[in-house]
Amino acid sequence: MKEDNIIEVSKLTRRFGDFTAVDHISFEVKRGEIFGFLGANGAGKTTAIRMLTGLLTPTSGAAMVAGEDVFTRAEAIKKKIGYMSQKFSLYEDLTVTENIRFYGGIYGLSGRNIRSKTEELLHRLEITGVRDRLIRDLPLGWKQKLAFSTAVIHDPAIVFMDEPTSGVDPITRRQFWDLIYEASDRGTTVFVTTHYMDEAEYCDRVTIMVEGRIDALDTPGGLKRRFGAPDIDEVFVKLARSGSGAANRLGKNAETRSDESAANRPGRGATPPPGEGTASRSNPNQPEGGGAT
């Protein structure tokens, strides 16, 4: 185990019956890296993240997250990470400070700590003026940024982000990534999944998952050079079209889909909701990213 690896994954596999959602993946993530996890819906990225965040036990292989083994120390992992998902961020009917206080408490911060962190956070995001405003009355961009900040309020070693910027306008999206950059600068590792291929370019390194396997892992520049593509989108298309990608894209089965959609459920790093360990059906009409207004 190298000293500055915060995540080490070796031949990690997860099967559901005779369906292999994650197929012997191996990779490492260095401390402070911004690591992008790309792939189509059903490629297995959500299952992979659930295993890394301690929400799902792998079938085989090995993985270490923040120094803890995912098989035996899942609960310890949950304490050391932050989690932000697209589908759930803050409580709409609580105020800004109430939300911060709530999540501070969940992550085990002391009262005094919470108070000082609250002030720090409000100042950094320049939202001291709305500290007592209900979340539902804030613009989407502010919500997203606040959500991210509360996800890292306990200064976790890694923060996992699941499609955090879906649907948001281009300016707000960039401001959001500013926050991610800052966090990374401070030494927090950021593990982000996204289906906006241009966001992949903001990452230090990127993996692309296809049918449970990692088909590419490199810096964005490296990938573009290797595939002779002008952008990651093109890399993705070329990858998907080569080999088994094309044929299998058509023949999706229900298990895959329910696995993906079930994984996009609300959950926080420190105290995930009970019973979150297995795949189950949620509304199949819900697209994986973005919503129409």
Partner: protein, 318 residues
């Protein structure tokens, strides 16, 4: 004119979803509405297909008023809402047959129109729609919307939530439809899809910021645009922002798109300055603004030039 819209307004409670939009779509045109969530795209489409009543303004779709002429309108438009409304527990062919039947036609009558599309999912025709992947659902939903040979097609965010390959294939299918002369109105949050339309309208918070061809839109950018790269992305970003003459600074992948406030900008000057700030491998080149650049600059202008945070008084809900 296939579609004419003048000063359309719509409010939900105190949220103004549409603040007076106007545009025209020519017959046979593929017209795109580009904008993020909350722009008002879905509201606009719903008004045009007569599912919502506007508060103010006028609209004509193939000569019919959606408010008064909805009965006739509903017979002749094709509508594919977001989330591809299909019947999950019906099979692919049952779905298609159903939509053909309720439009008083048969699957074979207009099969030519959907042949290329349906062909790709035909091997799965007995499979339940709920068990299809996103890309296949999209193709099925498109087939169902076309099966009655509509005069105009409304596609509301048809590529959202679908993988990159399927997204491209979808636009390929739309290309083929062009040959039939069908007027298509499509909305999308993806900037890169703008270039595949004949003309586009950039939308943001209930306004249409500009209407033009994809190339023409960039013409509205107004300034010179430069792409700057260096070895450390985030440091570059911070450095550029602190540059005294910086106009707009926005990241675009591994580059930063930069405009300068002065008219006589010399890139070499910036380069030396950046190098003095500790950055290496600095490259600066002039580029053509993309649709996204234009949207951002228009949004920026709309918000009064300052960062959207501080000046935003209108909130939109998702």
């Amino acid at each position: 004119m296939s579609v004419t819209v003048r000063n359309l307004k719509k409010k939900y409670g105190d949220i103004e979803a549409l603040k007076g939009v106007s545009f025209e779509v020519n017959p046979g045109e593929r017209f795109g509405f580009i904008g993020p969530d909350g722009a008002g795209k879905t509201t606009l489409f719903r008004i045009l297909v007569s599912l919502l009543l506007p508060d103010d303004g006028e609209a004509r779709v193939i000569g019919l008023d959606p408010v008064t002429g909805y009965k006739e309108l509903r017979r002749r438009v094709g509508y594919m809402p977001g989330r591809f409304s299909l019947y999950q527990d019906l099979s692919v062919e049952e779905n298609l047959r159903f939509f053909a039947t309720i439009f008083n036609t048969t699957v074979s009558a207009n099969y030519d129109l959907i042949r290329d599309i349906y062909h790709q999912i035909e091997p799965f025709k007995k499979r339940r729609a709920g068990d299809l992947s996103g890309g296949m659902k999209q193709k099925l939903a498109l087939s169902c919307a076309l099966i009655h040979k509509p005069d105009v097609l409304f596609l509301d965010e048809p590529t959202t939530g679908v993988d990159a390959v399927s997204r491209r294939e979808f636009w390929d299918m739309l290309d083929k439809l062009k040959a039939t002369g069908l007027t298509v109105l499509v909305s999308t949050p993806y900037m890169d899809e703008a270039s595949r339309c004949d003309r586009i309208a950039l939308m943001h918070r209930g306004h249409i910021l500009d209407v033009n061809t994809p190339q023409g839109i960039s013409g509205n950018f107004g300034r010179e645009l430069w792409a700057v790269r260096a070895d450390r992305c985030y440091r570059l970003l911070k450095a550029l922002r602190s540059f005294p003459h910086a106009g707009s600074v926005f990241t675009f992948g591994e580059q930063v798109h930069y405009t300068d406030r002065r008219d006589d900008f010399n890139p070499e000057e910036l380069k030396s300055w950046l190098e003095s700030e500790g950055l290496a491998q600095v490259q600066i080149e002039k580029i053509r603004p993309t649709v996204e650049d234009t949207l951002i600059s228009l949004m920026d202008r709309q918000e009064g030039g300052g960062p959207p945070d501080n000046s935003a008084t209108e909130f939109h809900r998702t």
